[in-house]
Amino acid sequence: MTQEGSTTSGHRGLDAEEPLSFEQGSPDKTGVDLPEPAAGVDRLGGLTRTRPIGLPGLAEPEVVRHYLRLSRQNFCIDGGFYPLGSCTMKHNPRLNEKLARLPGIGDLHPLQPVSTVQGALALIDACAGWLKALTGLPAVAMSPGAGAHGELTGLMTIRAALEDRGDARARVLVPESAHGTNPASARFCGYRVEAIPADRRGRVDVAAMKQKLGPDVAAIMLTNPNTCGLFENDILEIAEAVHDAGAFFYCDGANFNAIVGRVRPGDLGIDCMHINLHKTFSTPHGGGGPGAGPVVLSAALAPFAPVPSVVHGEDGTFRIIEHPCQSDAKPFGRVKGFHGQFGMFVRALAYMMSMGADGLHQASADAVLNANYLMARLDGTLHPAFPGPCMHEALFDEDTLKDTGVTTLDLAKALIDEGFHPMTVYFPLVVHGAMLVEPTETESKQTLDAFIASLKSLVARAHGGDARFFEEAPRLAPRRRLDETRAARQPVLRWRPPAPEIAAE
Protein backbone atom coordinates (compact mmCIF):
# COMPACT_ATOMS: atom_id res chain seq x y z
CA MET A 1 0.00 0.00 0.00
CA THR A 2 1.43 3.36 -0.90
CA GLN A 3 0.68 6.32 1.24
CA GLU A 4 1.10 9.99 0.58
CA GLY A 5 4.60 10.94 1.70
CA SER A 6 5.88 7.37 1.71
CA THR A 7 9.58 6.95 0.91
CA THR A 8 11.95 4.18 -0.15
CA SER A 9 13.97 4.48 3.05
CA GLY A 10 10.93 4.57 5.30
CA HIS A 11 12.18 7.88 6.77
CA ARG A 12 9.95 10.92 6.54
CA GLY A 13 12.19 13.93 6.17
CA LEU A 14 13.69 14.68 9.55
CA ASP A 15 11.69 11.89 11.16
CA ALA A 16 13.73 8.71 10.89
CA GLU A 17 12.05 5.32 10.97
CA GLU A 18 14.36 3.82 13.56
CA PRO A 19 14.67 0.06 14.09
CA LEU A 20 15.54 -1.42 17.50
CA SER A 21 19.25 -1.49 18.33
CA PHE A 22 18.94 -5.29 18.30
CA GLU A 23 17.66 -5.18 14.74
CA GLN A 24 20.49 -3.04 13.41
CA GLY A 25 23.47 -4.28 15.43
CA SER A 26 25.74 -7.23 14.88
CA PRO A 27 27.62 -9.13 17.60
CA ASP A 28 30.84 -8.80 15.57
CA LYS A 29 30.79 -5.03 15.78
CA THR A 30 31.88 -2.89 18.72
CA GLY A 31 32.33 0.78 19.41
CA VAL A 32 35.03 0.19 22.01
CA ASP A 33 38.31 -1.46 21.14
CA LEU A 34 39.85 -3.10 24.21
CA PRO A 35 42.61 -5.69 24.32
CA GLU A 36 41.52 -9.23 25.14
CA PRO A 37 42.15 -9.70 28.89
CA ALA A 38 44.57 -12.41 30.04
CA ALA A 39 42.83 -15.50 31.37
CA GLY A 40 42.52 -15.19 35.15
CA VAL A 41 41.43 -17.51 37.93
CA ASP A 42 37.75 -18.43 37.62
CA ARG A 43 36.04 -17.35 40.83
CA LEU A 44 32.50 -17.77 39.50
CA GLY A 45 32.05 -21.28 40.93
CA GLY A 46 31.06 -22.91 37.67
CA LEU A 47 28.66 -20.12 36.73
CA THR A 48 30.88 -18.78 33.97
CA ARG A 49 28.90 -17.80 30.91
CA THR A 50 29.14 -20.40 28.17
CA ARG A 51 27.46 -18.55 25.31
CA PRO A 52 27.03 -14.97 24.19
CA ILE A 53 24.21 -13.00 25.84
CA GLY A 54 23.04 -11.47 22.58
CA LEU A 55 23.71 -7.78 23.13
CA PRO A 56 23.63 -5.76 19.92
CA GLY A 57 27.00 -4.51 18.70
CA LEU A 58 27.00 -0.99 17.25
CA ALA A 59 29.61 1.60 16.41
CA GLU A 60 29.56 4.83 18.40
CA PRO A 61 27.97 6.99 15.67
CA GLU A 62 25.24 4.38 15.27
CA VAL A 63 24.50 4.50 19.00
CA VAL A 64 24.44 8.29 19.01
CA ARG A 65 22.08 8.39 16.03
CA HIS A 66 19.87 5.69 17.50
CA TYR A 67 19.16 7.58 20.70
CA LEU A 68 19.01 10.98 19.06
CA ARG A 69 16.43 9.68 16.58
CA LEU A 70 14.38 8.07 19.35
CA SER A 71 14.52 11.30 21.34
CA ARG A 72 13.00 13.16 18.40
CA GLN A 73 9.90 10.98 18.76
CA ASN A 74 9.53 11.93 22.41
CA PHE A 75 7.17 14.66 23.57
CA CYS A 76 8.63 16.83 26.32
CA ILE A 77 7.85 20.03 28.19
CA ASP A 78 10.74 21.74 26.38
CA GLY A 79 9.04 20.87 23.09
CA GLY A 80 5.41 21.76 23.61
CA PHE A 81 2.31 22.32 25.75
CA TYR A 82 1.87 19.43 28.17
CA PRO A 83 -1.39 19.95 30.12
CA LEU A 84 -1.38 16.56 31.85
CA GLY A 85 -3.75 17.01 34.80
CA SER A 86 -2.41 16.46 38.31
CA CYS A 87 1.14 16.31 36.93
CA THR A 88 2.01 20.02 36.98
CA MET A 89 4.16 19.90 33.85
CA LYS A 90 5.60 23.36 34.28
CA HIS A 91 8.72 24.81 32.67
CA ASN A 92 12.01 23.69 34.22
CA PRO A 93 14.00 26.94 34.48
CA ARG A 94 17.49 26.81 32.98
CA LEU A 95 18.83 28.65 36.02
CA ASN A 96 18.09 25.50 38.07
CA GLU A 97 20.11 23.43 35.64
CA LYS A 98 23.01 25.85 35.61
CA LEU A 99 23.30 25.79 39.40
CA ALA A 100 22.95 22.00 39.62
CA ARG A 101 25.97 21.71 37.33
CA LEU A 102 28.24 24.09 39.26
CA PRO A 103 31.60 22.57 40.13
CA GLY A 104 31.44 21.63 43.81
CA ILE A 105 27.75 20.73 43.47
CA GLY A 106 27.50 18.55 40.37
CA ASP A 107 30.60 16.48 41.20
CA LEU A 108 30.02 15.67 44.88
CA HIS A 109 30.10 12.11 46.15
CA PRO A 110 27.68 11.07 48.90
CA LEU A 111 30.45 9.24 50.77
CA GLN A 112 32.73 12.29 51.00
CA PRO A 113 33.75 13.23 54.55
CA VAL A 114 31.15 15.52 56.13
CA SER A 115 33.79 18.21 56.64
CA THR A 116 34.24 18.51 52.85
CA VAL A 117 30.50 18.89 52.02
CA GLN A 118 29.42 21.55 54.49
CA GLY A 119 28.05 23.69 51.66
CA ALA A 120 25.93 20.85 50.36
CA LEU A 121 24.52 20.16 53.82
CA ALA A 122 23.79 23.87 54.24
CA LEU A 123 21.94 23.69 50.91
CA ILE A 124 19.81 20.72 52.04
CA ASP A 125 19.10 22.59 55.27
CA ALA A 126 18.10 25.74 53.37
CA CYS A 127 15.80 23.78 51.05
CA ALA A 128 14.23 22.10 54.11
CA GLY A 129 13.82 25.54 55.70
CA TRP A 130 11.85 26.85 52.71
CA LEU A 131 9.61 23.76 52.63
CA LYS A 132 8.87 24.08 56.36
CA ALA A 133 8.13 27.80 56.05
CA LEU A 134 5.83 27.32 53.03
CA THR A 135 3.87 24.53 54.72
CA GLY A 136 3.87 25.84 58.29
CA LEU A 137 5.07 22.51 59.63
CA PRO A 138 8.08 22.15 61.93
CA ALA A 139 9.94 19.16 60.43
CA VAL A 140 10.69 17.57 57.08
CA ALA A 141 12.08 14.21 55.96
CA MET A 142 14.04 15.06 52.82
CA SER A 143 15.05 11.60 51.60
CA PRO A 144 11.95 10.11 49.83
CA GLY A 145 12.64 9.77 46.12
CA ALA A 146 9.19 10.38 44.64
CA GLY A 147 5.63 11.37 45.53
CA ALA A 148 4.36 7.87 46.24
CA HIS A 149 7.56 7.15 48.16
CA GLY A 150 6.74 10.21 50.25
CA GLU A 151 3.23 8.86 50.86
CA LEU A 152 4.66 5.58 52.11
CA THR A 153 7.20 7.42 54.27
CA GLY A 154 4.45 9.59 55.76
CA LEU A 155 2.28 6.59 56.56
CA MET A 156 5.21 4.70 58.08
CA THR A 157 5.88 7.75 60.27
CA ILE A 158 2.22 7.78 61.32
CA ARG A 159 2.34 4.05 62.05
CA ALA A 160 5.49 4.52 64.17
CA ALA A 161 3.87 7.36 66.13
CA LEU A 162 0.70 5.34 66.77
CA GLU A 163 2.57 2.21 67.79
CA ASP A 164 4.78 4.27 70.08
CA ARG A 165 1.70 5.30 72.04
CA GLY A 166 0.50 1.69 72.08
CA ASP A 167 -2.37 2.47 69.74
CA ALA A 168 -1.72 0.59 66.49
CA ARG A 169 -4.72 1.14 64.24
CA ALA A 170 -6.09 -0.77 61.26
CA ARG A 171 -7.86 1.53 58.78
CA VAL A 172 -6.99 4.45 56.49
CA LEU A 173 -9.73 6.52 54.85
CA VAL A 174 -9.21 7.67 51.26
CA PRO A 175 -11.66 9.69 49.11
CA GLU A 176 -12.90 8.08 45.91
CA SER A 177 -11.25 10.77 43.78
CA ALA A 178 -7.77 10.16 45.26
CA HIS A 179 -4.68 9.41 43.24
CA GLY A 180 -4.39 5.62 42.94
CA THR A 181 -1.11 5.75 44.83
CA ASN A 182 -2.92 6.77 48.06
CA PRO A 183 -4.80 3.51 48.65
CA ALA A 184 -1.80 1.59 47.32
CA SER A 185 0.56 3.24 49.83
CA ALA A 186 -1.86 2.63 52.70
CA ARG A 187 -2.30 -1.00 51.74
CA PHE A 188 1.47 -1.43 51.33
CA CYS A 189 1.89 -0.02 54.83
CA GLY A 190 -0.43 -2.74 56.16
CA TYR A 191 -3.65 -0.74 56.50
CA ARG A 192 -7.14 -1.58 55.32
CA VAL A 193 -8.38 1.08 52.94
CA GLU A 194 -11.90 2.48 53.01
CA ALA A 195 -13.23 4.80 50.36
CA ILE A 196 -15.04 8.02 51.26
CA PRO A 197 -17.67 9.08 48.72
CA ALA A 198 -17.76 12.54 47.17
CA ASP A 199 -20.76 14.83 47.48
CA ARG A 200 -22.55 16.52 44.58
CA ARG A 201 -20.03 19.35 44.61
CA GLY A 202 -17.12 16.96 43.92
CA ARG A 203 -15.79 17.36 47.45
CA VAL A 204 -15.52 14.94 50.38
CA ASP A 205 -18.90 14.02 51.83
CA VAL A 206 -18.11 15.15 55.38
CA ALA A 207 -21.06 13.33 56.96
CA ALA A 208 -20.05 10.05 55.30
CA MET A 209 -16.46 10.59 56.40
CA LYS A 210 -17.48 11.16 60.02
CA GLN A 211 -19.51 7.98 59.92
CA LYS A 212 -16.45 5.99 58.91
CA LEU A 213 -14.20 7.56 61.55
CA GLY A 214 -13.54 5.47 64.62
CA PRO A 215 -10.93 4.45 67.17
CA ASP A 216 -9.27 2.10 64.66
CA VAL A 217 -8.70 4.75 61.97
CA ALA A 218 -5.01 5.63 61.70
CA ALA A 219 -5.27 8.40 59.15
CA ILE A 220 -7.22 10.07 56.40
CA MET A 221 -5.41 10.81 53.12
CA LEU A 222 -6.77 13.88 51.40
CA THR A 223 -5.58 15.81 48.36
CA ASN A 224 -6.23 19.54 48.49
CA PRO A 225 -7.09 20.94 46.03
CA ASN A 226 -8.50 17.53 45.11
CA THR A 227 -8.16 15.73 41.77
CA CYS A 228 -11.35 17.37 40.53
CA GLY A 229 -9.42 20.66 40.73
CA LEU A 230 -11.57 21.84 43.65
CA PHE A 231 -10.58 23.22 47.03
CA GLU A 232 -11.85 21.06 49.90
CA ASN A 233 -13.49 23.92 51.72
CA ASP A 234 -14.65 21.79 54.65
CA ILE A 235 -11.04 20.96 55.43
CA LEU A 236 -11.00 22.57 58.90
CA GLU A 237 -14.05 20.56 59.94
CA ILE A 238 -12.45 17.41 58.49
CA ALA A 239 -9.20 18.05 60.38
CA GLU A 240 -11.03 18.58 63.65
CA ALA A 241 -13.06 15.37 63.27
CA VAL A 242 -9.94 13.38 62.34
CA HIS A 243 -8.01 14.68 65.34
CA ASP A 244 -10.97 14.10 67.69
CA ALA A 245 -10.86 10.45 66.59
CA GLY A 246 -7.16 10.28 67.51
CA ALA A 247 -6.15 9.86 63.87
CA PHE A 248 -3.60 11.75 61.77
CA PHE A 249 -4.36 13.95 58.78
CA TYR A 250 -2.24 13.08 55.73
CA CYS A 251 -2.33 15.44 52.75
CA ASP A 252 -1.25 14.38 49.27
CA GLY A 253 0.77 17.41 48.19
CA ALA A 254 0.59 16.66 44.47
CA ASN A 255 -1.60 19.72 43.94
CA PHE A 256 0.34 22.08 46.18
CA ASN A 257 1.10 24.25 43.14
CA ALA A 258 -2.41 25.71 43.38
CA ILE A 259 -1.90 27.12 46.87
CA VAL A 260 1.84 27.48 47.45
CA GLY A 261 2.74 30.83 48.98
CA ARG A 262 -0.90 31.48 49.91
CA VAL A 263 -2.11 28.69 52.20
CA ARG A 264 0.08 26.86 54.71
CA PRO A 265 -1.14 23.25 55.04
CA GLY A 266 -0.08 23.26 58.71
CA ASP A 267 -2.68 25.98 59.33
CA LEU A 268 -5.37 23.68 57.90
CA GLY A 269 -4.68 21.02 60.53
CA ILE A 270 -2.56 18.78 58.31
CA ASP A 271 -0.04 16.59 60.17
CA CYS A 272 1.89 15.23 57.25
CA MET A 273 2.26 16.06 53.55
CA HIS A 274 4.59 14.97 50.79
CA ILE A 275 5.80 17.61 48.40
CA ASN A 276 6.54 16.74 44.78
CA LEU A 277 9.58 18.90 44.09
CA HIS A 278 9.21 17.75 40.46
CA LYS A 279 5.79 19.39 40.26
CA THR A 280 5.43 22.46 42.45
CA PHE A 281 9.12 23.34 42.55
CA SER A 282 9.90 22.99 38.84
CA THR A 283 12.39 20.13 38.88
CA PRO A 284 12.21 17.88 35.79
CA HIS A 285 9.90 14.89 35.43
CA GLY A 286 7.91 13.01 32.85
CA GLY A 287 10.90 11.17 31.45
CA GLY A 288 13.40 13.68 32.88
CA GLY A 289 13.44 13.28 36.61
CA PRO A 290 14.26 11.82 38.98
CA GLY A 291 11.40 12.84 41.25
CA ALA A 292 11.80 13.92 44.86
CA GLY A 293 9.13 13.69 47.57
CA PRO A 294 10.16 15.30 50.87
CA VAL A 295 7.57 14.88 53.64
CA VAL A 296 6.75 17.70 56.05
CA LEU A 297 5.65 16.63 59.53
CA SER A 298 3.83 18.07 62.54
CA ALA A 299 5.49 18.19 65.97
CA ALA A 300 3.67 14.99 66.97
CA LEU A 301 5.17 13.08 64.03
CA ALA A 302 8.60 14.74 63.83
CA PRO A 303 10.41 12.41 66.29
CA PHE A 304 9.55 9.39 64.13
CA ALA A 305 10.87 10.75 60.81
CA PRO A 306 13.29 8.46 59.00
CA VAL A 307 17.05 8.99 58.97
CA PRO A 308 19.12 10.59 57.59
CA SER A 309 18.59 14.19 58.57
CA VAL A 310 20.85 17.22 58.47
CA VAL A 311 21.22 19.11 61.75
CA HIS A 312 23.06 22.24 62.84
CA GLY A 313 26.06 21.57 65.06
CA GLU A 314 26.74 23.87 68.03
CA ASP A 315 29.72 25.44 66.27
CA GLY A 316 27.76 26.48 63.18
CA THR A 317 28.72 23.41 61.17
CA PHE A 318 26.29 20.82 59.86
CA ARG A 319 26.26 17.11 60.54
CA ILE A 320 24.17 14.18 59.36
CA ILE A 321 22.16 11.96 61.68
CA GLU A 322 22.43 8.56 60.06
CA HIS A 323 21.65 6.20 62.93
CA PRO A 324 18.92 6.27 65.60
CA CYS A 325 21.58 6.21 68.34
CA GLN A 326 22.90 9.59 67.20
CA SER A 327 19.84 11.49 68.48
CA ASP A 328 17.09 11.43 71.09
CA ALA A 329 14.40 10.98 68.44
CA LYS A 330 12.82 7.66 67.46
CA PRO A 331 13.25 7.39 63.68
CA PHE A 332 11.40 4.42 62.23
CA GLY A 333 14.29 3.58 59.91
CA ARG A 334 15.67 4.57 56.54
CA VAL A 335 13.75 4.76 53.23
CA LYS A 336 16.52 5.56 50.77
CA GLY A 337 20.24 5.24 50.32
CA PHE A 338 22.31 8.36 51.07
CA HIS A 339 20.56 11.71 51.52
CA GLY A 340 17.77 11.81 48.93
CA GLN A 341 17.77 13.39 45.47
CA PHE A 342 20.37 16.04 46.18
CA GLY A 343 20.41 17.33 42.60
CA MET A 344 16.69 18.05 42.91
CA PHE A 345 17.18 19.91 46.20
CA VAL A 346 19.60 22.19 44.34
CA ARG A 347 17.09 22.85 41.57
CA ALA A 348 14.13 23.33 43.92
CA LEU A 349 16.09 25.72 46.12
CA ALA A 350 17.24 27.65 43.03
CA TYR A 351 13.59 27.93 42.00
CA MET A 352 12.35 29.04 45.42
CA MET A 353 15.13 31.60 45.92
CA SER A 354 14.84 33.01 42.40
CA MET A 355 11.05 33.29 42.70
CA GLY A 356 11.05 34.57 46.25
CA ALA A 357 7.99 34.44 48.49
CA ASP A 358 6.26 37.06 46.32
CA GLY A 359 7.04 35.12 43.13
CA LEU A 360 5.62 31.87 44.52
CA HIS A 361 2.53 33.79 45.69
CA GLN A 362 2.03 35.03 42.14
CA ALA A 363 2.82 31.67 40.51
CA SER A 364 0.02 29.82 42.32
CA ALA A 365 -2.41 32.60 41.41
CA ASP A 366 -1.37 32.46 37.76
CA ALA A 367 -1.73 28.65 37.74
CA VAL A 368 -5.31 29.03 38.98
CA LEU A 369 -5.99 31.91 36.59
CA ASN A 370 -4.76 29.90 33.58
CA ALA A 371 -6.98 26.93 34.47
CA ASN A 372 -9.99 29.18 34.89
CA TYR A 373 -9.24 30.96 31.62
CA LEU A 374 -9.30 27.56 29.88
CA MET A 375 -12.51 26.58 31.63
CA ALA A 376 -14.21 29.85 30.74
CA ARG A 377 -13.09 29.87 27.10
CA LEU A 378 -14.19 26.24 26.68
CA ASP A 379 -17.68 27.01 27.99
CA GLY A 380 -20.07 25.46 25.49
CA THR A 381 -17.29 23.32 23.99
CA LEU A 382 -16.63 20.95 26.86
CA HIS A 383 -18.84 20.38 29.87
CA PRO A 384 -17.24 21.01 33.29
CA ALA A 385 -17.68 18.01 35.59
CA PHE A 386 -18.42 20.46 38.41
CA PRO A 387 -19.34 24.13 38.24
CA GLY A 388 -16.37 26.53 38.35
CA PRO A 389 -14.39 28.36 39.36
CA CYS A 390 -11.74 25.68 39.63
CA MET A 391 -8.30 25.75 41.16
CA HIS A 392 -5.18 24.87 39.11
CA GLU A 393 -6.81 22.28 36.84
CA ALA A 394 -10.06 22.16 34.89
CA LEU A 395 -12.03 18.91 34.86
CA PHE A 396 -14.46 18.10 32.04
CA ASP A 397 -16.70 15.09 31.42
CA GLU A 398 -17.78 13.44 28.18
CA ASP A 399 -21.23 15.04 28.11
CA THR A 400 -20.79 17.30 25.09
CA LEU A 401 -19.47 14.37 23.03
CA LYS A 402 -22.56 12.30 23.72
CA ASP A 403 -24.14 10.82 20.58
CA THR A 404 -21.22 11.94 18.37
CA GLY A 405 -19.56 8.51 18.40
CA VAL A 406 -16.39 10.26 19.57
CA THR A 407 -14.98 9.39 22.98
CA THR A 408 -12.65 11.14 25.38
CA LEU A 409 -9.86 8.86 24.16
CA ASP A 410 -10.53 9.76 20.51
CA LEU A 411 -10.40 13.47 21.30
CA ALA A 412 -7.11 12.98 23.17
CA LYS A 413 -5.60 11.12 20.22
CA ALA A 414 -6.65 13.87 17.82
CA LEU A 415 -4.89 16.43 20.04
CA ILE A 416 -1.61 14.61 19.34
CA ASP A 417 -1.97 15.55 15.66
CA GLU A 418 -2.52 19.15 16.75
CA GLY A 419 0.91 19.04 18.42
CA PHE A 420 -0.25 19.02 22.03
CA HIS A 421 0.30 16.42 24.69
CA PRO A 422 -3.22 15.25 25.58
CA MET A 423 -4.67 16.06 28.96
CA THR A 424 -5.12 13.33 31.57
CA VAL A 425 -8.04 11.12 30.51
CA TYR A 426 -10.36 8.80 32.46
CA PHE A 427 -9.06 10.15 35.77
CA PRO A 428 -10.40 10.87 38.33
CA LEU A 429 -12.56 7.76 38.13
CA VAL A 430 -15.54 9.51 39.72
CA VAL A 431 -16.23 11.38 36.47
CA HIS A 432 -17.41 9.68 33.25
CA GLY A 433 -14.91 10.09 30.43
CA ALA A 434 -12.91 12.54 32.53
CA MET A 435 -10.54 15.06 30.92
CA LEU A 436 -8.29 16.78 33.43
CA VAL A 437 -6.45 19.80 32.02
CA GLU A 438 -3.67 21.47 34.02
CA PRO A 439 -2.04 24.29 32.07
CA THR A 440 0.30 25.54 34.89
CA GLU A 441 1.38 29.14 35.32
CA THR A 442 4.27 28.92 32.88
CA GLU A 443 2.15 28.88 29.72
CA SER A 444 1.43 32.07 27.83
CA LYS A 445 -2.01 33.27 26.76
CA GLN A 446 -0.97 32.59 23.14
CA THR A 447 -0.29 28.93 23.94
CA LEU A 448 -3.57 28.57 25.82
CA ASP A 449 -5.45 30.23 22.96
CA ALA A 450 -3.89 27.85 20.41
CA PHE A 451 -4.86 24.85 22.54
CA ILE A 452 -8.40 26.19 22.98
CA ALA A 453 -8.71 26.79 19.22
CA SER A 454 -7.66 23.20 18.52
CA LEU A 455 -10.11 21.79 21.05
CA LYS A 456 -12.95 23.93 19.71
CA SER A 457 -12.33 22.86 16.13
CA LEU A 458 -12.05 19.19 17.10
CA VAL A 459 -15.27 19.23 19.13
CA ALA A 460 -17.01 21.02 16.24
CA ARG A 461 -15.75 18.31 13.91
CA ALA A 462 -17.12 15.63 16.24
CA HIS A 463 -20.54 17.33 16.16
CA GLY A 464 -20.26 17.51 12.37
CA GLY A 465 -20.53 13.72 12.30
CA ASP A 466 -16.93 12.97 11.36
CA ALA A 467 -16.32 10.20 13.89
CA ARG A 468 -14.11 8.39 11.39
CA PHE A 469 -11.58 11.23 11.50
CA PHE A 470 -11.17 10.57 15.20
CA GLU A 471 -10.98 6.79 14.90
CA GLU A 472 -7.96 7.22 12.63
CA ALA A 473 -6.14 9.72 14.84
CA PRO A 474 -3.30 10.23 15.34
CA ARG A 475 -2.29 10.51 11.68
CA LEU A 476 0.84 12.61 12.00
CA ALA A 477 2.59 10.94 14.94
CA PRO A 478 5.51 8.53 14.41
CA ARG A 479 3.03 5.74 15.12
CA ARG A 480 -0.68 5.61 14.40
CA ARG A 481 -3.31 4.54 16.96
CA LEU A 482 -1.89 1.76 19.10
CA ASP A 483 -4.03 -1.22 20.05
CA GLU A 484 -4.06 -0.62 23.80
CA THR A 485 -6.36 -3.55 24.45
CA ARG A 486 -4.13 -6.04 22.68
CA ALA A 487 -1.04 -4.52 24.26
CA ALA A 488 -2.57 -5.20 27.68
CA ARG A 489 -4.00 -8.62 26.88
CA GLN A 490 -1.06 -10.00 24.91
CA PRO A 491 1.96 -7.93 25.83
CA VAL A 492 5.18 -8.64 23.95
CA LEU A 493 7.76 -8.16 26.65
CA ARG A 494 10.84 -9.51 24.93
CA TRP A 495 12.36 -9.04 21.51
CA ARG A 496 13.29 -12.28 19.80
CA PRO A 497 15.41 -12.57 16.67
CA PRO A 498 13.35 -13.45 13.60
CA ALA A 499 13.53 -17.12 12.65
CA PRO A 500 16.14 -17.66 9.91
CA GLU A 501 14.59 -17.85 6.48
CA ILE A 502 14.68 -21.34 5.02
CA ALA A 503 15.60 -21.30 1.37
CA ALA A 504 12.83 -22.56 -0.84
CA GLU A 505 13.63 -25.73 -2.76
Binding site: G180, Y426, L429, H432, E484, T485, A488, R489
Partner: protein
Protein backbone atom coordinates in the same frame (compact mmCIF):
# COMPACT_ATOMS: atom_id res chain seq x y z
CA UNK B 1 -36.03 -21.93 39.81
CA UNK B 2 -33.46 -19.25 39.06
CA UNK B 3 -33.69 -15.53 39.51
CA UNK B 4 -31.44 -12.54 38.79
CA UNK B 5 -30.64 -9.87 41.34
CA UNK B 6 -28.49 -6.73 40.97
CA UNK B 7 -26.44 -4.42 43.20
CA UNK B 8 -26.04 -0.65 42.98
CA UNK B 9 -22.36 -1.34 42.17
CA UNK B 10 -23.46 -3.21 39.02
CA UNK B 11 -22.83 -6.80 40.05
CA UNK B 12 -25.43 -9.43 39.17
CA UNK B 13 -26.13 -12.69 40.99
CA UNK B 14 -28.09 -15.56 39.45
CA UNK B 15 -29.60 -17.63 42.25
CA UNK B 16 -30.20 -21.35 41.73
CA UNK B 17 -31.17 -23.00 45.01
CA UNK B 18 -28.41 -22.19 47.49
CA UNK B 19 -25.81 -21.49 44.78
CA UNK B 20 -25.34 -18.00 43.34
CA UNK B 21 -23.36 -17.16 40.20
CA UNK B 22 -21.86 -13.64 40.22
CA UNK B 23 -20.63 -11.33 37.48
CA UNK B 24 -20.75 -7.71 36.36
CA UNK B 25 -23.59 -6.23 34.35
CA UNK B 26 -23.68 -5.17 30.72
CA UNK B 27 -23.77 -1.53 31.89
CA UNK B 28 -20.62 -2.11 33.97
CA UNK B 29 -18.66 -3.71 31.14
CA UNK B 30 -19.69 -0.93 28.79
CA UNK B 31 -18.53 1.73 31.23
CA UNK B 32 -15.22 -0.04 31.80
CA UNK B 33 -14.39 -0.58 28.14
CA UNK B 34 -12.16 -3.42 26.96
CA UNK B 35 -11.47 -5.69 29.94
CA UNK B 36 -7.83 -6.81 30.00
CA UNK B 37 -7.47 -8.61 33.33
CA UNK B 38 -9.65 -10.24 35.97
CA UNK B 39 -8.46 -11.21 39.45
CA UNK B 40 -10.62 -13.92 41.01
CA UNK B 41 -11.01 -15.02 44.66
CA UNK B 42 -9.73 -18.29 46.08
CA UNK B 43 -12.21 -21.14 46.15
CA UNK B 44 -13.31 -21.73 49.74
CA UNK B 45 -13.03 -18.10 50.79
CA UNK B 46 -15.80 -16.93 53.11
CA UNK B 47 -17.11 -13.54 52.13
CA UNK B 48 -19.40 -11.05 53.78
CA UNK B 49 -21.79 -8.95 51.73
CA UNK B 50 -19.91 -5.88 50.47
CA UNK B 51 -16.43 -7.46 50.71
CA UNK B 52 -14.03 -6.88 47.82
CA UNK B 53 -13.97 -10.27 46.14
CA UNK B 54 -12.54 -9.72 42.68
CA UNK B 55 -10.84 -7.05 40.59
CA UNK B 56 -11.62 -6.20 37.00
CA UNK B 57 -9.16 -4.15 35.00
CA UNK B 58 -9.86 -2.44 31.70
CA UNK B 59 -7.86 -0.14 29.44
CA UNK B 60 -9.46 2.74 31.35
CA UNK B 61 -9.56 1.70 34.99
CA UNK B 62 -9.33 -0.99 37.64
CA UNK B 63 -12.46 -1.65 39.71
CA UNK B 64 -13.34 -3.85 42.63
CA UNK B 65 -16.12 -6.39 42.44
CA UNK B 66 -18.03 -6.73 45.71
CA UNK B 67 -19.84 -9.73 47.15
CA UNK B 68 -23.57 -9.12 46.56
CA UNK B 69 -24.45 -11.36 49.51
CA UNK B 70 -22.57 -13.36 52.17
CA UNK B 71 -21.39 -16.90 51.49
CA UNK B 72 -18.51 -19.21 50.52
CA UNK B 73 -16.81 -19.11 47.14
CA UNK B 74 -17.27 -22.54 45.53
CA UNK B 75 -15.97 -22.08 42.00
CA UNK B 76 -14.27 -19.43 39.84
CA UNK B 77 -14.36 -18.89 36.11
CA UNK B 78 -10.77 -19.80 35.22
CA UNK B 79 -11.44 -19.13 31.53
CA UNK B 80 -11.37 -15.39 32.25
CA UNK B 81 -7.60 -15.56 32.83
CA UNK B 82 -7.06 -16.47 29.17
CA UNK B 83 -10.07 -14.70 27.72
CA UNK B 84 -10.87 -11.57 29.74
CA UNK B 85 -12.74 -10.27 26.67
CA UNK B 86 -15.56 -12.68 27.58
CA UNK B 87 -16.59 -10.15 30.24
CA UNK B 88 -17.30 -7.69 27.42
CA UNK B 89 -18.91 -10.11 24.99
CA UNK B 90 -21.10 -12.08 27.42
CA UNK B 91 -21.16 -10.33 30.80
CA UNK B 92 -24.19 -12.15 32.14
CA UNK B 93 -23.41 -15.57 30.61
CA UNK B 94 -19.93 -17.01 29.90
CA UNK B 95 -18.36 -13.91 31.49
CA UNK B 96 -19.38 -14.88 35.05
CA UNK B 97 -16.73 -14.36 37.76
CA UNK B 98 -17.42 -16.84 40.57
CA UNK B 99 -20.03 -19.07 42.19
CA UNK B 100 -20.86 -19.02 45.86
CA UNK B 101 -22.89 -20.97 48.40
CA UNK B 102 -25.21 -18.36 49.83
CA UNK B 103 -25.30 -18.41 53.64
CA UNK B 104 -27.59 -15.43 54.22
CA UNK B 105 -30.31 -15.69 51.61
CA UNK B 106 -32.32 -12.96 53.34
CA UNK B 107 -29.71 -10.49 52.00
CA UNK B 108 -31.03 -11.20 48.49
CA UNK B 109 -34.13 -9.22 49.38
CA UNK B 110 -32.00 -6.04 49.57
CA UNK B 111 -30.93 -6.41 45.93
CA UNK B 112 -32.74 -5.10 42.86
CA UNK B 113 -34.73 -7.26 40.46
CA UNK B 114 -34.31 -6.87 36.69
CA UNK B 115 -36.93 -4.16 36.22
CA UNK B 116 -35.74 -2.09 39.18
CA UNK B 117 -32.10 -2.34 38.05
CA UNK B 118 -33.06 -1.21 34.55
CA UNK B 119 -34.75 1.88 35.99
CA UNK B 120 -31.69 2.47 38.17
CA UNK B 121 -29.34 2.37 35.17
CA UNK B 122 -31.63 4.65 33.17
CA UNK B 123 -31.53 7.15 36.02
CA UNK B 124 -27.72 7.30 35.83
CA UNK B 125 -27.52 8.70 32.30
Amino acid sequence: MTSMRYTREHEWIRVDGEIGTVGITDYAQEQLGDVVFVELPEVGRQVVKGDEVAVVESVKAASEVYAPVSGDVTETNEKLAEEPATVNSAPTAEGWFFKMRITASAELDDLMDTATYKDYVDSLD
